[in-house]
Amino acid sequence: MRDLVSRLGAFWKDLWRLSKNDKGAMVGGAVVALYCVVAVIGPYVAHLSRVTNPADAYLPPSLAHPLGTGPLGQDILSELVVGTRPIMEVGILAALMTVSVGVVIGLVSGYLGGFADSVLMRVTDVFLTIPGLALVIVIASLVRTSSPVVLAAILSVTAWAGLARAVRSQALSLRESDFVEAARQQGLPLRNMVGRQLLPNVGPYVAIHFLLDVTGAIYAEVGLFVLGVVPISGTNWGIMIYLAMGQGALFTTKSMLYLFSPMVAIVILQVAFVFFTRVLDALFNPRLRVQ
């Protein structure tokens, strides 16, 4: 336990040191953190008016409405804030599912080897080849869900395969290593071997994959809404873009904020994630760190 604490301490120290050197990564991390905070507290601080007043449509920015108003007279900033949670929620859920499935299959496959390994890897190969986005769009349009959990599951339907493959090859090489051999000779059960011995060693790789999976899931999720192939229900950035495009917001100056606000929100988040990933990459990849 103490070991874990000290390792975590060292991790944060390293993270801090590296971020200090990489301004982009630091800003990225801060932005991601900010979005997370908004996702958690957003619905409590911003309130979407239940009263719709089309007469107030597309008001220019003001103190009351820093980003102006949308087609129904609602505050764009509030919509943006309230719309953060569904996006982040699904993105993170999907990444969690992707990572857990990928890690479990990869570790088990790599550790067990033999027949189980071949079967699991053939399945993985199929999912690795299927164009994920096309499958996600097809399934999402059929299932017609508005539940974040189901949507996240759909989004991760093929994404886990790459991670499973990578984790497996790491597990394979770890399996041969001394400490796993030692653990095996002590007769530790599979669960222990995988959980205590193998998992910590693929951790860094998984962490980076997790962040990229979040961005991937957000990309696909927003895309589904922007295309209008998943049920349009509630408020999120994708739905905002979809409705704004459909209602011609792109073509008049005063309505453009309604369309561009969610677009900018997505772009900032995605860029921030990628830059933040860079510092983790440096942290876990000593060779890159030297450079």
Binding site: G24, T98, M121, T124, D125, V126, L128, T129, I130, P131, G132, L133, A134, V136, I137, V138, I139, S141, L142, V143, R144, L155, S156, T158, A159, A161, G162, L163, A164, R165, A166, S169, I208, H209, L212, D213, T215, G216, A217, Y219, A220, V222, G223, V226, L227, V229, I241, M245, L250, L259, I266, V267, Q270, V271, F273, V274, F275, R278, R287, Q291
Partner: protein
């Protein structure tokens, strides 16, 4: 080598078979059951039960009342014969014909974008690696990372706005103009190119950075590797060093990613083509989804997958040329492993989700 090719052929066929099966189960077993949806759609159109059965059979190549296993084998048989059924919306159109009309355009767009962004990306990536500690390289790196993190459909919206709407420079909505004769003539080819500019630009803007960053990363690590210094110590010429030792090896991971990105770009064509109303397979898939035309939907999905499998296969054939270890027995890791490593390198624009 021949064993390697045989293995790849078998693997590709197996994946195609599995995807066809998958499409059957998606149509038959997914919530929102496509077959019963079609039946009710047809009954609203005023068809009789018997007509409906005949239609369902023509459209999905299955008989809804037959046992599931028989439906499955009939379906597989039909698909393997190239009978993908008929469109629900355009019942006089076969799915195959619809797809055959659309697929060449997608291949044109995806292929051209891939080549352009690959070439630009590799060039920029190599330059970034060579100049890695300069201020200019850092600035370019920043811009490239930002561009490659932007979702391609958002870039499409901006392009649409700037170059098709506000300044109607490039046309949208078709693959060529109504005023040209289809055939091998300048007017037609010019028209095809002009109509392809926006979709290709949307792809290239968001994907060249993926190649550039990937190339930079691998070139930097190759430059730092022992064998490059070893080659240097042998007094090899600069050209030999950069081409054979640095260039070729930095390209290896990129070639691997190529296979992955083909799949991604075919998937992304749904966004790009829909926004520019470009009549490729992605546009077709979007239209099918919006009209709940399940047979076209599944046909597009199967064909997109087949296109990806085929292009993966081509890349796999190509790969031994750059990495001969692959084809030699016991020489190297499997292609799939290489790919899995590629997935990590794919940033947002190239997520596998």
């Amino acid at each position: 080598m021949s064993r390697y090719i045989a293995r790849r052929v078998v693997a590709s066929l197996a994946i195609i078979y599995i995807v066809i099966s998958l499409s059957f189960f998606i149509v038959r077993l997914m919530p929102g059951n496509a077959v019963s949806a079609l039946e009710s759609q047809l009954s609203v159109q005023g068809m009789t039960t018997q007509q409906i059965d005949a239609q369902v059979n023509a459209i999905y190549a299955v008989t809804p009342k037959a046992p599931l296993w028989r439906q499955y084998f009939t379906y597989i048989g039909h698909v393997l014969e190239g009978k993908l059924g008929r469109s629900i919306i355009n019942q006089s159109e076969t799915v195959l014909h619809i797809i055959a009309n659309a697929l060449p355009w997608t291949i044109f767009i995806v292929g051209t974008s891939l080549i352009i962004s690959f070439v630009i990306g590799i060039a920029i990536g190599s330059a970034l690696a060579a100049l890695q500690h300069t201020r200019a390289a850092k600035a370019v790196s920043f811009v490239v990372s930002v561009l490659s993190s932007i979702p391609n459909y958002l870039v499409a919206i901006v392009l649409l706005y700037l170059l098709a709407d506000i300044h109607p420079i490039f046309p949208t909505g078709a693959a060529y103009s109504v005023n040209v004769t289809v055939g091998f003539n300048i007017a037609f080819i010019g028209s095809v190119i002009v109509h392809g500019v926006l979709p290709i630009a949307a792809y290239v803007i968001t994907s060249f950075g993926v190649w550039a960053l990937g190339m930079k990363g691998s070139a930097v690590s190759v430059l730092g590797s022992e064998y490059v210094r070893a080659a240097e110590s042998r007094g090899l010429s600069r050209r030999r060093l950069t081409q054979t030792y640095v260039g070729r090896n930095s390209m290896l991971p990129q070639v691997t990613t190529l296979a992955l990105s083909v799949g991604f770009m075919f998937g992304g064509s749904i966004f790009i083509e829909t926004y520019f109303s470009y009549p490729g397979i992605g546009y077709q898939l979007d239209q099918a989804i919006n009209s709940r035309d399940y047979s076209v939907m599944m046909g597009c999905f199967i064909l997109i997958t087949v296109a990806v499998v085929v292009s993966n296969f081509l890349v796999d054939l190509l790969y031994p040329l750059v990495d001969p270890r692959i084809a030699s027995p016991g020489g190297a890791r499997s292609v799939a492993d290489r790919r899995a490593e590629g997935t990590k390198a794919m940033p947002v624009g190239g997520s596998t989700a």
